[in-house]
């Protein structure tokens, strides 16, 4: 098995800390990532329905999503830098060969992502009734789904070092793309369920009755369909695991993740009819976010179990700590979070005061 030699430089922190940061930042990345992917799917479907049914409410719902998605994507990409960094640090000997073998498709995420991201801005800034909206939505949807497919392909290959030699001997030009349908379906329907929960939240936060009801209806429908399809897709994915991976699946975590998904669905049902209640919206979305967090932990446990036989901790994970720099990072992270919160608060306060001033002016 062509496993890279141990690096001459040790890890700058213990492996457990780096793994913790990897899982944490991966979780923080996949939440907005799911909203970007799932949200693009839902917005496109709403756009089509608005066109076919000539429905202003569907149009408004699609537009609300299109307006939200560019900012969510900005955080998806920015937060995503961190897990990409940590995975290369801890699992570099698996990550780099897999990325080289899938070279062109792995490289393609950049142009594909740029085009898809610009299409989101086109939807967000373009004319509401432009005839190209449906097509632009469809293209963005396909591109984001493709990016998810590429990530699934390369990351899956990084867990299969036993297949590398044969693939590389066949071609060194990075032409391979692994179709991993069960894993991709697991990701895709996880994303649409999360976006459904977000649409549900839009409904609970809206003060317009027609929009609120439609958003809650659509949110519930998408959450239900997605979670119902995701369950067998996840089992299918599980069935592709080898014995080692299957043994690493932690049942309490799996059950808790499934239960949280079910709780989210129940909350969505409870808040479906009657008056809008923001708490229900937040609780529904929160349940799915927590469920995603548990699945991120589960994913890590499985990866670690699969790769452990190929890792020599004494050499691959030897320690050359940089605690002083880590402390600077930790302090800065806390400051950054505090500053971002302060800026957001300041925005809300100032915008509210401005709005109140405008209302007072119009009343005069």
């Amino acid at each position: 098995m062509p496993l890279p030699n141990a690096e001459p430089i040790g890890l700058p922190a213990p492996a457990w800390l780096l793994q913790f940061l990897l899982v944490l930042t991966f979780f923080l990345h996949i939440v907005p990532m799911s909203i970007t992917l799932g949200g693009t799917v839902l917005a496109t479907v709403f756009e089509i329905r608005a066109r076919l049914q000539k429905s202003a409410d569907f149009k408004a719902l699609a537009y609300k999503l299109w307006r939200t998605l560019p900012s969510v994507t900005a955080y998806t990409i920015t937060i995503g830098v961190a897990p990409l960094l940590f995975v290369q640090l801890i699992y570099g000997k698996f990550f780099y060969p897999a990325s080289v073998i899938t070279g062109w498709s792995w490289f393609a995420i950049i142009p594909v992502l740029i085009i898809a991201y610009y299409l989101l801005y086109l939807q967000s800034l373009g004319a509401k009734d432009a005839p190209w909206r449906t097509w632009a939505g469809l293209v963005a949807m396909v591109l984001f789904a493709g990016v998810a497919g590429i990530f699934v392909s390369t990351m899956s290959l990084s867990w299969e070092p036993e297949t590398w030699k044969a693939l590389y001997a066949e071609s060194q030009a990075g032409l391979f793309f692994l179709v991993k349908l069960p894993r991709w379906l697991h990701v895709f329907f996880g994303a649409t369920s999360m976006a459904g929960a977000l649409v549900m939240l839009f409904g609970h936060l809206s003060k317009e009755d027609g929009f609120s009801r439609l958003a809650r209806n659509c949110g519930l429908t998408w959450m239900t369909i997605s979670l119902v399809v995701q369950a067998p897709a996840s089992l299918w994915y599980l069935s592709t695991f080898n014995e080692t991976a299957r043994a690493a699946v932690n049942m309490p975590i799996s059950i808790a993740a499934g239960a949280l998904g079910a709780v989210g669905l129940v909350i969505a049902f409870l808040g479906w009819k009657g008056a809008a209640r923001p708490l229900y919206g937040w609780a529904g979305l929160g349940s799915l976010v927590l469920s995603t967090g548990l699945l991120a932990v589960q994913r890590h446990l499985v990866r670690q179990a699969i790769l452990a036989p190929h890792i020599n901790a004494a050499t691959d994970w030897k320690l050359s700590p940089q605690w002083d720099v880590f402390v600077v990072f930790a302090l800065l992270l806390v400051t950054a979070i505090g500053l971002m919160g302060y800026l957001a608060l300041r925005f809300m306060k100032s915008a509210a005061a401005n709005q109140a001033g405008k209302m007072a002016e119009s009343a005069d």
Binding site: P2, P4, N5, E7, P8, I9, G10, P12, A74, I77, T78, I79, G80, V81, A82, L84, L85, F86, Q88, L89, G92, K93, Y96, P97, S99, V100, G103, W106, F107, I110, L113, I114, Y117, Y118, Y121, L125, W164, Y168, A169, Q172, A173, G174, S320, Q322, D324, V325, F329, L332, L333, T335, A336, I337, M340, L343, A344, R346, F347, S350, A351, N354
Partner: protein
């Protein structure tokens, strides 16, 4: 010799990195300088309650977000993806050394994204003081991303004391850190000024536009004064062998160095005698040409910085082909040593040419393609087997920007056979084919 090589036909890995890096550096430096430009312009506009500037800045912000937040951010990830594909060994070393530096930069990214989005959505929604605060926070966060990443980029050419101590701080604050930081800050401000000149056309023929043109041209002129000084400083601190390459040791690098100087001079003189002296006469065509020359100058400067580092990816530490500087030629051969050799040894290969191709891939293909960019085929045209064999054994002595050959005699012979075969027309018999 730990990682597989991604065989990129025609372009080669080096050119692919250069394309992605130049585009990203252009946009990201524009984002840094543009942040400072935006904060100062907003400050002026709000202070004087200039409705024309405010309206212009609102439109400018939209375009700024589309360029920096989308293309800048994604192409930044693109650099990661590309260097990981082309130079996994060096990338791995960089990450192990500077992961906390990148993590610190990531914190600034988070602040940067939040601030620019709030600034963008804050137009006509928040009070001027809050709005200006967002602009300044963005400008500072953006500048600090440069403060961090500059250390890592400079490290690759001048690792300095890190080579002995392995300390993060020695690696980060290395000999070319400060000249690099000044030069990049200056380039960032110049690009922002050039961009301001270009977009000022949105104001139509007006007094407000003239002021904006003057304001932007000052950015360019001040930046260039700093750029000239810091470039000379940079040239003085880089390793002598690297300086030699830039001054004529390697023709392509020296030519690009000359072009960068000429492009910079054109911008400096053009902006001084054009927009600065006669702001009302600045046309969009002129501004667009200056902006394109700015891109070419940025590209040239990056090319020189990358080029003078040859044959290393991290100077005096790891060569472009993943071989460490302290390694001696492998007695059992490079195919035996390399984890990703297709055949493992010359004897196991189906032919000597096939073995030579494998050696080429392991030793040469990180910089050379066969027929494309830096193609080896025209380079060895007319070379006999014996001459090629002799040259391979002395690459690092004959040409200072080539790493040493690490294989054994049998592999050297196979590589010479493969290289000779490249220029043999199909159907003709040749010494290589016979061998």
């Amino acid at each position: 010799m730990s990682y597989p090589l991604w065989d990129v036909p025609l372009l080669g890995g080096g050119l692919l990195i250069a394309i992605v890096a130049v585009l990203h550096v252009f946009v990201s430096q524009f984002a840094v300088g543009g942040g400072i430009w935006l904060a100062l312009a907003s400050h002026n506009a709000y202070k004087t309650n200039d409705a024309a500037w405010l309206e212009y800045l609102k439109r400018h912000t939209k375009f700024f977000v589309l360029v920096s937040l989308v293309f800048g951010a994604v192409s930044g990830v693109g650099i990661w993806v590309t260097i990981g594909l082309i130079s996994p060994q060096a990338t791995s070393i960089l990450i192990r050394t500077f992961v906390w530096g990148w993590a610190i930069e990531w914190c600034f990214f988070l602040i940067e994204v939040t601030a620019i989005l709030l600034y963008y959505y804050g137009w006509n929604k928040v009070d001027p003081k809050t709005h200006r605060l967002f602009a300044w926070v963005y400008a500072l966060a953006s500048f600090f991303t440069l403060v961090v990443i500059n250390g890592i980029v400079a490290f690759m050419l001048t690792p300095g004391q890190w080579l002995e101590t392995g300390s993060f701080w020695h690696g980060w604050i290395n000999p070319s850190y400060f000249p690099g930081l000044f030069a990049r800050t200056a380039a960032s401000l110049a690009l922002a000024g050039l961009y301001g000149l270009f977009t000022s056309v949105a104001l139509g023929k007006s007094e407000a536009r003239e002021r904006l043109v003057k304001f932007s041209s000052k950015f360019v002129l001040v930046a260039f004064a700093f750029f000239a000084v810091s470039s000379l400083w940079w040239m003085a601190v880089i390793p002598p062998a690297a300086r030699e390459l830039a001054m004529g040791g390697a023709a392509p690098v020296a030519i690009m160095n000359g072009f960068t100087f000429i492009f910079s001079a054109i911008i400096l003189l053009g902006v001084f005698f054009g927009p600065f002296r006669a702001p009302s006469k600045t046309s969009i065509t002129f501004a667009a040409v200056m902006l394109v020359i700015g891109l070419l100058a940025t590209g040239g400067a990056e090319w020189v910085r990358e080029g003078v580092r040859k044959p290393f990816v991290i100077y005096d530490y790891v060569y472009s082909n993943g071989v460490f500087a302290w390694e001696k030629p492998y007695p059992n051969g490079v195919m035996d040593q390399a984890v990703w050799s297709v055949y493992g040894s010359v004897d196991a290969a189906p032919s000597k040419i096939a073995a030579g191709q494998d050696v080429f891939r392991l030793q040469c293909a990180s910089c050379h393609t066969v027929e494309g960019y830096n193609g080896v085929k025209p380079l060895v045209k007319g070379w006999s087997h014996d001459f090629t064999y002799d040259q391979i054994g002395r690459l690092d002595m004959l040409k200072g920007y080539m790493p040493p050959f690490m294989g054994n005699d049998q592999e050297r012979d196979a590589l010479a056979t493969y290289l000779e075969s490249l220029n043999v027309k199909e159907g003709t018999s040749s010494a290589a084919a016979k061998r």
